[in-house]
C-alpha cells in the first residue's frame, strides 16, 4: 500500500476500518458541536471514560464467571458494559445536576477520575484478559469486521437521522431555553433526546474506536470549524466535513507512517484547530487559495508512487545476487511458535532438526529467494561461501563494508526488520527495509520500505499470522 487512492478502494483490505473511522468522523462532530455550544464539552471527555470503565468491568465479570462466555465475541460483551455504564453515568450526572450538588465541572472531573481509576482497577483484577481488554480500550478500529461495520453504520446512521431531524429543537433548546419552552413545551424532552443520542454514540464509539479517538472526533472538528463560520448550518456541516477529513487523512497517515490511529487522528485534529485560527486571520480569498493549494499538494503527495519497481535481472546483466540473512533489529526473537504446523512438516521432511525453531527472518528470506529466482535472478546465499556471514544491515555503507570484507562481488540484497508486532490475530505491524546494493561502488539500485499493518484475516494462530504477513509483504515488495 503506497498511495492515497489505494486506501479509498473498496477492495483494499483495511477498507472496512477506513469506512468505520469515516462514519465516526462524520457523525460524532454533530454531537460534539452541541456539547461545545452548551459548554458541556467535559461531558464528551467523561462519558467515553465511563464507557471504558464499563468495558473493563464486564470483562472482569466474565473472567470471574459471573457472566457467561458470549458467542458474539469480545466486542459484544464489551458493548453491553459500555452502554450500561454510559447511561448509568449520564443518569447519575443528570440527577446531581438537578439537585445542584457541587459545581458542574467538579462533578465531571470527579466522574472522569473515578472512571479512569475503575478502568485500570478492573483491568488489574483481570490478569487473564489484560491484553485483550487493553486492545479493546485502545480502540482497534483497524480490526473492525464487516459485521461490526454494519452495526456501526446502523447505529450511527440512526444517530445522524436523529440529529438532522431534530436539529431545530436541539438548537432552540441549547440557545434559548425560555423560547424553547414557549414554542415547544418542556425542554427536558429535547435534552433527554440529545443526550440519548450522545450516549448511544459514545457507548458504541468507545468499543469500536476507544475513548481517545472518540473524544477527538466529538470535539476537535467542531472546535476547528467554530472560528471559520458565522452561522449554525455552516458550523454543523463544516464540523462534519472536518471530522471526515480528519478520519481519512488520519487513517492514511497512520497506515503510511505505521502510527497508532487514535493519537494520529487526535494530533491531526489539533493541527486543524491551529490551521483554522491561522486561516481566520487572513482574507477569505487567500484562505480559500491556501486550502486549495494544500489539498493539491496532499493529493499529489498521497497519489505519488514513492518507489521504483524492482529492476529486471537482464537489466543487471544477470549478475550474481547475494541474498543476505535478514537482520532482526526489533529486539525480539521473532521465533515461530513451537506448535507451528510448518515446523512439523519441515521436521518430517528432515530439513530441520527437532531443536531448531524457524523465525520470521527465515520465512522472509525463503520467500524472497523464491520470488527473486522466479524473476530470473541468479540468487546465491553468502553462507554458501562462508558460514560465518552474519545478517547484513540495511545501512548501505555497513552492508557494502561487510560484503567487501567477505569478498562478495556483484549485487547484494539486504533486508532489515525494525518492527514486527502482532496487534491482534488479524494484523501484524511491520516496519522493514529492503535494498539491492552494488558492492563495487556502493550504489543503491533499488530500495523499498514496508511500513504498515499487514492484515492476516484468515490466520487462526500467531504462527499462521506471521507466515501470512511474510507472503503479503513479499507480494507487495515485488508488485510495484
Amino acid at each position: 500500500m503506497s498511495t492515497f487512492l489505494e486506501i479509498l478502494s473498496p477492495s483494499y483490505l483495511l477498507f472496512p476500518a477506513l469506512l468505520g473511522t469515516a462514519i465516526l468522523g462524520l457523525v460524532c462532530p454533530l454531537i460534539g458541536s452541541y456539547l461545545i455550544l452548551r459548554r458541556t464539552v467535559f461531558l464528551g471527555l467523561t462519558l467515553p471514560q465511563i464507557a471504558a470503565a464499563g468495558v473493563s468491568f464486564t470483562f472482569w465479570l466474565q473472567q470471574t464467571g459471573f457472566l457467561p462466555q458470549w458467542q458474539q465475541g469480545e466486542r459484544g460483551i464489551g458493548m453491553i458494559g459500555s452502554l450500561l455504564f454510559t447511561f448509568l453515568g449520564m443518569g447519575l450526572l443528570g440527577y446531581l445536576e438537578q439537585r445542584r450538588k457541587g459545581i458542574a465541572e467538579g462533578r465531571l472531573a470527579a466522574a472522569y477520575a473515578l472512571a479512569g481509576a475503575l478502568t485500570i482497577l478492573f483491568i488489574v483484577f483481570n490478569p487473564a484478559g489484560q491484553i485483550e481488554v487493553l486492545n479493546l480500550l485502545k480502540g482497534e478500529v483497524i480490526a473492525l469486521s464487516k459485521g461490526e461495520l454494519r452495526l456501526l453504520a446502523t447505529v450511527f446512521g440512526l444517530v445522524l437521522v436523529g440529529m438532522l431531524l431534530f436539529r431545530r429543537e436541539f438548537l432552540l433548546t441549547s440557545f434559548d431555553r425560555d423560547l424553547a419552552f414557549l414554542l415547544k413545551g418542556r425542554q427536558i424532552i429535547w435534552d433527554v433526546l440529545l443526550y440519548l443520542l450522545a450516549g448511544v454514540s459514545i457507548a458504541f464509539g468507545v468499543i469500536m474506536a476507544g475513548p481517545l479517538l472518540l473524544f477527538g472526533f466529538l470535539v476537535l472538528p467542531a472546535l476547528a470549524a467554530r472560528p471559520l463560520v458565522n452561522n449554525m448550518s455552516s458550523f454543523l456541516w463544516l464540523s462534519s466535513l472536518l471530522g471526515l477529513a480528519m478520519a481519512v487523512f488520519g487513517f492514511y497517515s497512520s497506515v503510511r507512517l505505521d502510527l497508532p490511529l487514535g493519537p494520529t487522528d487526535v494530533t491531526l485534529g489539533c493541527c486543524l484547530i491551529f490551521l483554522a485560527y491561522a486561516l481566520r486571520r487572513i482574507s477569505p480569498r487567500r484562505a480559500l487559495g491556501l486550502i486549495v493549494l494544500s489539498s493539491v499538494a496532499l493529493w499529489t503527495y498521497g497519489c505519488a508512487t514513492p518507489t521504483a519497481p524492482l529492476p529486471e535481472a537482464k537489466a543487471l546483466n544477470n549478475q550474481t545476487l547475494w541474498l543476505a540473512k535478514v537482520k532482526n533489529s526489533t529486539g525480539l526473537s521473532l521465533l515461530l511458535p513451537a506448535t507451528n504446523p510448518l515446523r512439523s512438516l519441515a521436521e518430517m521432511a528432515g530439513k530441520i532438526s527437532s531443536d531448531y525453531r524457524q523465525s520470521v527472518m527465515d520465512l522472509l528470506r525463503d520467500d524472497l529467494r523464491r520470488e527473486l529466482e522466479q524473476r530470473g535472478f541468479r540468487v546465491t546465499l553468502p553462507e554458501q561461501t562462508d558460514s560465518r556471514f552474519p545478517a547484513f544491515p540495511a545501512d548501505t555503507g555497513n552492508a557494502v563494508r561487510l560484503a567487501r570484507e567477505g569478498k562478495l562481488s556483484g549485487l547484494i540484497f539486504v533486508s532489515e526488520i525494525w518492527r514486527w508486532e502482532a496487534d491482534s490475530r488479524q494484523f501484524v505491524r511491520v516496519f522493514a527495509d529492503f535494498k539491492i546494493v552494488r558492492t563495487d561502488d556502493g550504489s543503491v539500485l533499488w530500495e523499498r520500505r514496508i511500513q504498515r499493518a499487514v492484515p492476516t484475516p484468515s490466520a487462526t494462530n500467531l504462527g499462521q499470522a506471521y507466515t501470512d504477513s511474510v507472503k503479503e509483504i513479499v507480494r507487495d515488495l515485488f508488485a510495484g
Partner: protein, 260 residues
C-alpha cells in the same frame, strides 16, 4: 406618604379592575383598530406572590393585560422585573394567587436581554429570527417558503433586512435588540414581553426601539409589556406604567409620580 401611596394604589387598582375597561376602550378607540369584543384580557394576575425557593420577591401582584396595551414596568436592577415576566410566561411557578392566560404560550413573543444569550453560538441574524417560527414547524418538515418570506417581512419591520446574513453577535446592542424583537414578531404573537429592551444601547437606538414598540401596538393591536430601569423613558413610552421596588408593585399615572 404611606397613606397617600395606599390611596393612590387603591385608586389605581380600582382603575385596573372596574374602570380599566373604560380606560382601555379609550386607548383602543383612539387607535381605531380593536372592537369591544376583542377586549378580553390576554393575561390576568390576581393576588400573585412570586419568588424562588419559597422566598417571595414580589407579593400581591394584580395585573391585567389587554390587546393593544403598551405597559411599561420600571424598577431598579434586582427588583423582580424579570421574575414577574417569567411568571407570566409560565417559566417560573408562582407561590400563590392566580395567573390566567387567554392565549396559548406559543402566542407569547418573548424578548430576553441580549446579554443573556451565549455568544458562543455561531448564529446568523436570519437564523435567530427563524427560531420564532420553530413552534409551527414539525421536525420532519423543511422550512416552508412562506416562513422564509415572513423572515424578510419582520426584518423589514425592524428595518434590518440588510443584516440577515451577518453574524448575530457581531451586531451592536441596539441592532441585537431589534433582531430579537423581529424574532418575537416571527412567533406571530398576541402579546410581546420585552425584558430591558433598552439597556446597553445608545441613545439613538433607544429612540428607534421605543418608536418601534409604539408603532407595533398602534398598527397591529399587539399588547406589549416591557421593562426598564430607566423610569423617565418608561413614562415617556408606555401608555400605562407600573413601578416595582422593594418587593412591592404599583401603578403610576403618567405624568404623576407617587412613591411608596
Amino acid at each position: 406618604m404611606d397613606r397617600l401611596y395606599c390611596a393612590h394604589l387603591g385608586a389605581v387598582r380600582q382603575l385596573e379592575g372596574m374602570e380599566l375597561g373604560q380606560d382601555i376602550d379609550e386607548i383602543q378607540s383612539a387607535r381605531g383598530r380593536v372592537s369591544k369584543d376583542d377586549s378580553l384580557p390576554l393575561v390576568s394576575l390576581q393576588n400573585v406572590s412570586l419568588g424562588y425557593d419559597s422566598e417571595p420577591v414580589l407579593q400581591n401582584v394584580d395585573l391585567t393585560i389587554y390587546p393593544g396595551d403598551l405597559i411599561g414596568l420600571a424598577g431598579p436592577n434586582g427588583s423582580g422585573k424579570t421574575t414577574l415576566f417569567r411568571a407570566i410566561l409560565g417559566l417560573l411557578p408562582i407561590l400563590s394567587g392566580t395567573v390566567s392566560r387567554n392565549c396559548p404560550l406559543s402566542n407569547f413573543g418573548y424578548v430576553p436581554q441580549s446579554a443573556a444569550l451565549d455568544p458562543q453560538f455561531p448564529l446568523s441574524t436570519g437564523e435567530v429570527v427563524e427560531m420564532g417560527a420553530y413552534g409551527r414547524i414539525r421536525p420532519y418538515e423543511f422550512f416552508p417558503a412562506a416562513e422564509k418570506k415572513q423572515i424578510g417581512e419582520v426584518l423589514d419591520q425592524v428595518g434590518l433586512r440588510q443584516l440577515a446574513a451577518r453574524s448575530f453577535f457581531s451586531l451592536s446592542g441596539g441592532q441585537k435588540q431589534r433582531i430579537l424583537i423581529a424574532r418575537a414578531l416571527m412567533v406571530k404573537p398576541k402579546i410581546m414581553i420585552l425584558d430591558e429592551p433598552l439597556s446597553g444601547v445608545d441613545e439613538e437606538s433607544r429612540k428607534s426601539i421605543s418608536e418601534l414598540l409604539v408603532g407595533l401596538t398602534r398598527h397591529s393591536g399587539l399588547a406589549i409589556f416591557f421593562s426598564s430601569h430607566d423610569v423617565p423613558m418608561v413614562r415617556r413610552v408606555a401608555d400605562r406604567f407600573l413601578r416595582v421596588d422593594k418587593g412591592k408593585i404599583w401603578w403610576e399615572k403618567k405624568g404623576v409620580e407617587l412613591h411608596p
